[in-house]
């Protein structure tokens, strides 16, 4: 059956798969959110250890999802890989730096003779949770606002802004997207920690976390509001003829939503679930908020990533040269490669199944202060 899929279906399918991975990454950013909350919610050494150890059992999942997001884009949309990474050089390098320092921090923080001291590794975690996510958000924003590049007839990229991608962070829309992701990650982080930690030794931290969930959600609202209203009003980069010509189209993203009402459904359902998760966490003693907040984030993330690509839209538009813009049609791998990779993708449910099983097995009992005496970060 897969072998009979036509090229356009495969291109849509692979954008969907990449978007699912991207949306899962946004959910798993609860790790980054928790990191950036550390100093705010954990006041004692024990509280800090609980937060770090709780997140420390999940950080690799987030990290691996990011690596897979990169790998999936490379395999399915190599022109995006070459144009964006090679063009918006500085923004990606800085994002990567924040993930390099994250990867060692859990393991090194509490070990004796760690050269830099615990607080530096905690700072690394904070930088990853704040600057890293902000820049990722700004990069996602460029899917709508466009970037500054030109492609030669052999698809070699020339970036026309000397800041090489960092200029993305100076657009109000991109910045709002980034700040929304930062606050959303913090909201999710609080939800996850409430879910995972046994607070019998640290009851104050539970209250702080439940409060932080609400506060960060409220902080995220103006940025989310600005992004959503802008999306409805802004002009977008549309494919306007059969030759793939790109032109500015008035209210393009509104048109995309109206043409695909299920995207509105995803967005609305996602937002309702996140709100539900916040209220469950902040206004009750329930631990289940993360499941609502997590699923809600996945749905919103999916809608945001599909919106600039489907319905004949350029997902990585160029402000400098409209015709250099990338679409899922001109940026994809060959039909053969997409077909092959679709067979490989059949293993994804298996991967999700064992990840879910291990999550369940490891989170059955909450992380308690007693457990920290052994095998800790």
């Amino acid at each position: 059956m897969i072998g009979n899929l036509d090229y356009s279906t495969l291109q849509h399918l692979w954008w969907l798969l990449c978007s699912v991975v991207g949306a899962l990454f946004l959910f798993l950013n609860f790790v980054q959110g928790g990191q950036s909350l550390l100093w705010q919610v954990a006041k004692t050494g024990l509280e800090k250890d609980l937060v770090i150890n709780s997140l420390g059992r999940k950080w690799e999942l987030t990290f691996t999802t990011l690596v897979l997001f990169g790998g999936a884009l490379f395999a399915s949309f190599p022109k995006f890989y070459s144009t964006s990474f090679g063009g918006a050089y500085w923004v990606w390098i800085l994002i990567l730096f924040t993930f390099i320092v994250q990867a060692v921090s859990y393991e090194f923080r509490k070990k004796p003779s760690n050269l830099l001291g615990s607080s530096v590794y905690e700072l690394f975690l904070f930088i990853n949770g704040s600057v890293g996510i902000l820049l990722i958000g700004a990069a996602v924003g460029t899917f709508f606002t466009g970037s500054n590049f030109e492609l030669s007839s052999y698809n070699m990229v020339t970036w026309t802004n000397p800041l090489r991608g960092l200029e993305a962070a100076f657009s109000l829309f991109n910045l709002s997207m980034g700040l929304f992701l930062v606050f959303n990650a913090r909201t999710l982080g609080a939800m996850y920690l409430v879910n995972d930690i046994d607070f019998s030794a640290t009851p104050d931290m539970e209250n702080r976390l439940r409060k932080a969930c609400m506060v960060n959600f409220i902080c995220s609202l103006p940025f989310l509001g600005y992004v959503l209203v802008s999306l409805l009003l802004m002009d977008g980069y549309g494919i306007v003829d059969d030759r793939g010509t790109i032109a500015m189209v008035s209210r393009k993203y509104l048109a995309n939503l109206l043409a695909n009402p299920w995207l509105i459904g995803l967005l609305a359902a996602g937002l309702v679930l996140v709100i539900l998760g916040v209220f469950i966490t902040a206004k009750s003693r329930s631990r289940a908020g993360i499941w609502f907040g997590g699923l809600g984030t996945v749905l919103v993330g999916l809608a945001v990533l599909l919106l600039p690509a489907y319905n004949n839209t350029a997902f990585y538009p160029s402000k400098a040269d409209l015709q250099s813009s990338l679409t899922i049609f001109n940026a994809s791998s060959s039909q053969f490669t997409l077909t092959t990779m679709t067979y490989v993708a059949l293993t994804i449910p298996l991967v999700l199944a064992y990840v879910a099983y291990v999550w369940w097995a490891m989170n059955r009992t909450r992380l308690s202060a007693e457990e920290l005496s052994d095998e800790t970060y």
Partner: protein, 511 residues
């Protein structure tokens, strides 16, 4: 036109990739090998229920965890660097090269990352059986990731299962099975994993020997060594065998690389292998100087290695640069000419297509097809540009082989004295043993140099030279990130060594 980039920038981009890859490669082989040995120790603990084996397993696991974190940190940069610094490469071969990277993520990294948390934190959270299963899954996941990244790397050395598409001006995949079962991939994977197993065994031998010399944890150290020496000996035999296979594949697919390993400028029948030698640093292809200031050769051995026949002909560097009619070898000069014609015809084809002139496009395409196999050579300036750095390739290759032989001997001695039960008294061997891990690191890095420097100037053998594979960046930008990576990775490495040394000196728990 596909442009050649500023050479200074290309060299900085190469230096940056080499830097990040070599730092990454400090940590990866230990992970690849030690995960199997830990899973084995863990199995003994589960079967015997002995607390000593549990403490032993936990000790090596702790050292592995420290190593793993920094391996992950240096690894993410490798994946994205293909995009940031080698964007033209990413576009021109992404259709083929991206697939193994994505598969590595789906199939291997998730296995590793998911079960890593169980392995480390599952002692009291999951059943003993599932915990043990997790240790094996981490080993499997790490080694599966090696499969896919080496499939990708082998494809760069021997690009099979692809064709150039003049319409998209990129290389596209035609046969996935060819890419996966590339003979170079098979020999690379087996050689890399077996040598990593050897390195991990030597890591355990070095630290355990130090404990015995210090008179600490003697029982644990002897047990660790008994397992590691067996693993190490088996691995060293397999490393030698697969290394021989890799050299044989080189002779088929990258004969210039093999010639550079041996500093062989003029092809010979019954070519000898250099047992020891000093390269003449001023020697250039085509001049009349001797290649070596001093050399000891074992007659016929290179021919045997390359062709499985001691009297056979092994072509030298100059045969490939200037051609050798007698053996039907086309010189690089002629290939460059053909390559340039292919590039010009490709340009003509694209121009005619854009102008809608189908007849002219068809004609240009036919002309392009005549020389399409040489397209990569069209980017080179001179025939001599096809020669990799000979001295570096030669020394790296010989250091790797000599150290590899030493490791086999050391494993035999450790096993012999372990069986005899007199290992604790062999202080000379224990002293030598403590240095083995550092030497294994040297051999391992040398192996990386052999594989990657030996294929210069190609990013993709015969198809894409490094000079056109990079991103359009300034030399200053790449220089800046080079030093940023150097500073950060060095800092993290120093921290890692400090932590590791401290944990070793603390030693395993004892009941």
């Amino acid at each position: 036109m596909i442009e050649n980039f500023d050479l200074t920038m290309v060299n900085w981009a190469r230096a940056q990739f080499a830097l990040t890859a070599m730092y990454h490669w400090i940590f990866v082989p230990l992970t690849l090998g030690i995960t199997w040995i830990i899973a084995f120790y863990h199995t003994i603990y589960v079967r015997t229920g002995s607390n000593e084996w549990k403490n032993l397993t936990k000790f090596w696991m702790k050292l592995f965890g420290i190593n793993f974190a920094i391996g992950v940190a240096t690894g993410i940069i490798m994946e994205f660097e293909f995009g940031t610094n080698w964007s033209n490469y990413s576009w021109m071969v992404g259709d083929i090269f991206g697939a193994p990277l994505a598969i590595e993520g789906i199939i291997a990294f998730f296995l590793e990352a998911t079960f890593f948390a169980v392995m480390f934190f599952g002692w009291n959270r999951v059943s003993k059986g599932f915990h043990l299963f997790s240790s094996w899954m981490v080993a499997l996941g790490s080694n599966l990731s090696a499969v896919w990244i080496l499939v990708a790397n082998a494809w760069m050395q021997h690009p099979v299962g692809q064709a150039f598409n003049p319409d998209t001006a990129r290389f596209e995949m035609k046969d996935f099975a060819d890419v996966v079962f590339n003979p170079v991939a098979v020999s690379k994977f087996t050689h890399t994993t077996s040598s990593s197993m050897l390195l991990a065994s030597l890591f355990i031998i070095s630290i355990s020997s130090w404990f015995i010399l210090k008179g600490r944890h003697i029982q644990m150290a002897r047990r660790s060594i008994a397992v590691a020496a067996v693993f190490g000996l088996l691995a060293s035999g397999f490393t030698a065998f697969t290394g021989d296979e890799a050299a044989f594949e080189n002779a088929r697919h990258q004969p210039m690389k093999l010639a550079a390993f041996e500093g062989l400028y003029k092809g010979e029948y019954g070519a000898g292998l250099v047992a020891a030698g000093l390269i003449n640093p001023t020697k250039q292809p085509g001049d009349q100087q001797e290649a070596f200031s001093f050399e000891i050769r074992i007659p016929g051995l290179l021919s045997l290695l390359a062709n499985r026949s001691p009297g056979s002909f092994v072509p030298g560097i100059e045969d490939f640069v200037y051609g050798n009619d007698e053996h039907g070898i086309m010189g690089a000069g002629e290939k460059i000419k053909k390559g340039r014609m292919a590039l010009a015809n490709l340009d003509a084809y694209k121009t005619a297509k854009e102008a809608g002139d189908e007849a002219a496009a068809w004609e240009a395409l036919a002309a392009f097809n005549e020389n399409r196999d040489f397209i990569g050579y069209g980017f080179l300036e001179r025939p001599e540009d096809t020669v990799p750095p000979v001295a570096l390739s030669f020394y790296a290759f010989h250091i790797m082989v000599i150290l590899g032989s030493l490791f086999t001997l050391v494993c035999i001695l450790y096993l012999f004295f372990s069986i005899k039960g007199t290992l604790v008294r062999q202080r000379w061997l224990l002293g030598l043993g403590t240095t083995m891990f550092f030497l294994a690191m040297v051999a391992s890095q040398a192996g990386w140099i052999v594989a990657e420097v030996g294929r210069q100037p190609w990013a993709i053998q015969n198809m894409l030279p490094v000079g056109v594979a990079t991103s359009n960046l300034t030399a200053g930008t790449v220089q800046t990130t080079f030093f940023m990576f150097l500073a950060l990775f060095t800092l993290l490495l120093i921290a890692e060594i400090g932590i590791m040394a401290k944990q070793i000196s603390i030693g395993p728990e004892e009941d």
